[in-house]
Each structure stands twice: as C-alpha cells, then as structure tokens.
C-alpha cells in the first residue's frame, strides 16, 4: 500500500475528517493532503509525512517506507490485469481477500468480477495484491505489491 492510500486509510479510521480540518490541525500547507492521497506519484516531503504520522498516532516509518511506493503501482497492476485478462488477488486490510478479473479502475475504487458478482473495492483498503498469471508466463515486479509492513507494526 502506498503512503497516499495508507494515509487515506488512516483518515478513514480517524472518523473520515476532511482535508481542510486535518491540514489546519497539523499545519501542513493547504491542498497538500488531497495531492498526497490522490496523486499517483508520491507527494509530500518527509517533514509533512512525519506530521501526519504523528497526527494519526502511527510510527513515522510506517508512512515513510510506503512513500517509496507510488499509488500508481496498484493502478498499474490493476491495468495490467485488465489488459492481459488475468485475475488479480486483492488482500484487504479488513482481512478479506478477493480474486477476480478487473472490470474497471478508477481514482479511488476498482471493480472486480468475482464469480457472478461485481465487487467494488475501495482501493485505500487494499493492503497487498498479486497478479495471478498462468504458469509459464513471466511476471513483472509490479505484479505483486510490496510487503504489507516494513516494521511489522501496524498503526491501526
């Protein structure tokens, strides 16, 4: 999970406050929260991420190491799965796991066809993922997500 998705997940756990309120409380520049959460590239410097980690009460490292992974990584994996028509497994932070074919990919959500059901998964709940290519097909490094935690500690 990227730092953007992770911070969005933390915001959800903390009552889903709006960007403006959090920016005001943490003193980070206005508009930056939205960019951090929604941009595909990694946005925000270390000081900002530390402030947000402190605000959400998680170790800064939990946010910082995820900053290496842009939000685009999950999008790329979903796009690849859709293009190659291969199933993808999404492991959610709720403990659930869905395996299915991607129907569409959006900014904040993706649609998986699981059996005869269409499941809309909000991407900030996707912890890890894996493209399930048929055996023999080469897989790229973007097929799989980074480990769910670098420190082994989960803030939430």
């Amino acid at each position: 999970m990227s730092s953007g998705d992770y911070l969005r997940f933390l915001r959800a756990l903390h009552g889903g406050k709006d960007f403006f309120s959090i920016e005001e409380e943490t003193g980070i520049p206005s508009g930056l929260m939205r960019q951090i959460e929604q941009r595909y590239r990694a946005v925000g410097d270390e000081a900002t991420l530390r402030k947000l980690a402190e605000y959400y009460g998680v170790p800064p490292e939990e946010v910082l190491w995820r900053h290496e992974w842009s939000r685009a990584r999950l999008t790329f994996a979903l796009e690849d799965a859709m293009r190659d028509d291969v199933p993808i497994r999404l492991n959610l932070r709720t403990g659930e796991s869905f395996t299915g074919k991607v129907q569409w990919v959006d900014l904040a959500a993706t649609c998986l066809k699981v059996g005869d059901r269409e499941i809309i998964v909000q991407r900030h709940w996707v912890d890890t993922w894996e493209l399930l290519r048929p055996e023999g097909e080469s897989s790229s490094e973007e097929d799989a997500s980074p480990p769910s935690s670098a420190t082994g500690e989960e803030g939430a």
Binding site: D116, I120, Q122
Partner: protein, 244 residues
C-alpha cells in the same frame, strides 16, 4: 480669337478630356494645338461645343504653346523625362547605394543549431554538408532558415513518436482526479434501485438501495431510514444477489 490650347487650359481641361468630349484623337488635338495642322471646319463645331465657346473664338491655326522653362531648383527627374514623353523615375546622379554585406549568424543561432543537430539525429558535419558551408560562415538569414528547418524536423519526429507511443502504450490512461467509472456504476445502481451490500471498515454491513451519492458519500435507504455513508468508511460493496 484664341489658340485652342489657351481655351482648353482656361477651361481647366486636359487633352484627354477634350478628346473624350469631342471624339477627336489626342494626337490630332495635339497637332492642332501645336499649330502643325489647321483645325478643319468639320471639327470646329465639336471643339466649340466641348469647350463652351463660339466657333469663331477658336483660331483655326494655333500658335505653338510656349515651351515650359525648366526650373533651376527643380530636381533632375522633373527636368528630364523618359522615352515617349512619359514621366520616368528620377535619375540618380550618385550610384545606387551598395547594400551592406549580410550579417553573420549570431552566436546564439550557432549554439542553437549545434544543440538541435543531435536532437534531429544529425552531426554538425552532416548539417554543414546539408547547407554546403561551415556553420560559422552562415549568414543570419541562412541560420534562421536552417533553424526553422531543423525545428520542423524535430516537431514532426515528436509528433510521430507521440502517435507511435499512443499505439504502444503499456499503461492505460491513469484516471487521476476523476471517478468516472464509479460514478457511472453508482448511477446505474441508483436507477435500478436494487439493494446493495456495503461492507464497512469495522466489519459492519449496510444493505439498501442507493438514493443518492456524491464524491465523498453514498446515501442508502434501509427499510424506512436513510443512511449516508462516508466513502472512506466503505471497504467494498456489491449488488445484493450478484449481477442483475
């Protein structure tokens, strides 16, 4: 009695005007005015009528008009006329000014050319062969033209690469800033008014028909109550009972 040319000038008429009014050719009128030919009686009435005078007022054989004296202060061009009596361009006593030699290309132009050469896949030597001289011998205008040519080539290549890139795109367009698919999906669900199961972050579930939604929330009717769910709190949702 007056000379024909006197009357014509007094009336402010040109030879051409008089020719037009009388139907007598200009050459003929000129010959009458210069006294080279007497005015025949057949032409007198027409001339008198055109000049609003009596016939007897016109001398049948005019005295030649006085030669125009050249003014010492006048320019050379006004004294001498071109062949055939037409006004020619003023003659120059001084030779025509030789145009200055073309300016050499600016250093910035040359630097730009050297920079552009590899960008269009050519060496500086190839560019010099193309123009037939070393770059530092180019004139400013030549350098400007060459720069334009190279920029055109570069522009075409970029366009081509862009088109090829569009075909070979490995990644689909990243829908940054839009939630088009989800909004379309929610719209369909709302229109169908079918029950949707929302699984929230704390493990709880809400089942109901969508009655409205925005970028950040979805309002669901459950039995007799309406619940607005923050999209942040939703982990996933699906149509109750599978695809309809």
């Amino acid at each position: 009695m007056y000379n024909l040319w006197e009357i014509r000038k007094r009336k402010g008429m040109s030879l051409k005007d008089l020719a037009a009014r009388t139907g007598i050719p200009q050459e003929k009128l000129l010959a009458y005015e210069q006294g080279k030919e007497p005015i025949p009686y057949s032409d007198l009435p027409r001339l008198a009528k055109a000049l609003y005078v009596e016939e007897w007022e016109i001398k049948t054989l005019s005295d030649p008009p006085p030669q125009r004296k050249s003014h010492p202060g006048r320019s050379r061009g006004q004294q001498k006329r071109g062949k055939g009596g037409r006004r020619g361009k003023p003659q120059r006593s001084r030779p025509r000014r030789v145009p200055p030699p073309p300016s050499p290309a600016r250093e910035t132009q040359l630097a730009h050319l050297r920079q552009l050469a590899p960008a269009v896949g050519k060496t500086v030597e190839e560019i010099e062969q193309m123009v037939g001289k070393p770059l530092d011998q180019l004139t400013r205008r030549e350098a400007s033209r060459l720069l334009f040519q190279l920029q055109e080539i570069l522009r075409e290549r970029k366009q081509q690469a862009k088109q090829e890139g569009a075909h070979n795109r490995k990644r689909a367009y990243l829908p940054e800033g839009v939630d088009r698919f989800e909004l379309e999906y929610l719209t369909q669900l709302q229109e169908k008014a079918l029950p949707v199961r929302f699984h929230l972050f704390d493990g709880s579930e809400v089942v109901g028909a969508i009655v409205g939604f925005g970028p950040y929330s979805i309002t669901v009717r459950t039995d007799e109550t309406e619940t607005t769910l923050n999209k942040l709190a939703i982990a996933w949702y699906t149509l109750e009972g599978g695809v309809q």
